[in-house]
Symmetry: C2
Subunit: 241 residues, 2 copies
DNA sequence: AAGTGGTCTAGACCACGGC
DNA sequence: CCGTGGTCTAGACCACTTC
């Protein structure tokens, strides 16, 4: 009797999981459909019950399947993606809205000590600063300023960011995988300059969002502050207890 | 040899987890400290390795401990709670700030068709409506109105909500377990009435948050709209890609 | 009653980490 | 080297759902 994780292959429980995932992705199994039971999987894959169980319990934890005591294991309903970190362009695209961006300025700065620190750089680091006004239907609706390490991303200074999403550019061309963002959200009023840029009266309420965006490696990659016209933007999130 | 989950008591793996949790909460174990290994736990609690393992693996999944292959299991760094669904009172308490609530009105309404619908009730359902102004340091900082099914929660109408958190009341006294909330966040300006209630000039920017709060059973339990003074409130969330 | 998931046993081998 | 976690076996009893 062979015991233990012999040969250098994938663990059995992962092989089982992948097989189930593939059947879901290929459409062979749809939401609500029943999945092989622990005992069936154990026979099919010649593993013990505990191993089959491990595979299913893990998939349930991920939300791929749902287990009902006494009834069986079922393919879970497709998840609604709340709270997903998206770039502005991506968000608008997901709502079938078109955006255009006007680059107000693009420059290298080296006196933003606090922002440099938040990006985990030494205080006097050179930063690429990109300031943009985003419009939809030729009407300006948001103002964003983002900062990145000039050393790493200086090449983006002349990139055609009017059309291409900065997120996409980072992920596709710069080999950075974005993972999550910590954000601070509050309300403010438009000052004189923001009023002019967004073509609104001074004092108009704006949603202000300030994000630090981290890569999959845990590196703070980008610092963004944005002002969004009220009425035109609502942020939707889901919070858990 | 006894086998299986005899007698109607708590599962062994949960008893082990609770014991570890208690040692962490009481300060006996701090972040980075090593936790009993699977083999030690198995001996101490007279359970099999798999059971001890289950206890630790589950705690690791929750983020309470961290497991390092070949090294051991360690107490995780204290979590920064992002995106946690908290009542206003709870949030302020977690920041060591005291709040007081003044109940502006508390009544039964039956013409809020849209809100009733959002709570999954028939359009003309009777709803308990509680309007409160929250103050910190005797200065009004937020205005909240919440709606609940009058049929289910009518008894709350005369509850002393000046002092007790509504969340706590629901969870402790009404047997409702809150699970998550879908929220919409945007910015607005104070109108005349809000200006008076919050003692601020008309036109001041306010953060507006509108939540539908769901129970663990998936029932929409409460609808809340709140206005929060800018400068006094920033919402912190983490979003994942 | 039959089948399902939930808990549990008493072991096993392997891969990895720190001394 | 020894101890740790990661994977796995071949069973067991219990609680629950469905028929």
């Amino acid at each position: 009797m062979t015991i233990g994780n012999h040969n250098g292959t994938e663990p059995a429980y992962k092989r089982i999981q992948n097989a189930i995932r593939e059947r879901i992705e290929s459409g062979q199994l749809g939401p609500g459909d029943i999945v092989d039971s622990e005992r069936e999987l154990a026979k099919i894959y010649s593993v013990s019950l505990m191993t089959a169980r491990h595979a299913l319990a893990d998939l349930a934890r991920e939300g791929v399947v749902e287990r009902r005591h006494g009834a069986g294991t079922f393919v879970a309903q497709p998840k609604i993606h709340f709270n997903r970190l998206l770039g502005y362009t991506e968000q608008m695209a997901s709502l079938s809205l078109s955006v255009r961006s006007r680059i107000v300025s693009s420059s290298i700065v080296n006196r933003e000590h606090e922002i440099a620190a938040r990006l985990g750089l030494s205080p006097n680091s050179r930063l690429l600063r990109i300031e943009r006004v985003r419009s939809s239907d030729d009407e300006p609706v948001a103002h964003e300023v983002c900062y990145l390490s000039a050393e790493e991303f200086g090449a983006l200074m002349d990139a055609p960011l009017e059309k291409v999403s900065l997120f996409a550019k980072l992920e596709r061309d710069c080999g950075v995988e974005l993972a999550y963002a910590d954000e601070e959200i509050d309300a403010t009023s438009a000052d004189h300059r923001l009023g002019e840029l967004l073509n609104i009266p001074r004092g108009t309420a704006l949603l202000r969002i300030c994000q630090i965006i981290f890569s999959t490696k845990g590196r703070a990659t980008m610092y963004v502050t944005g002002f969004y016209r009220s009425g035109r933007h609502t942020l939707r999130i889901r919070r858990f207890r």
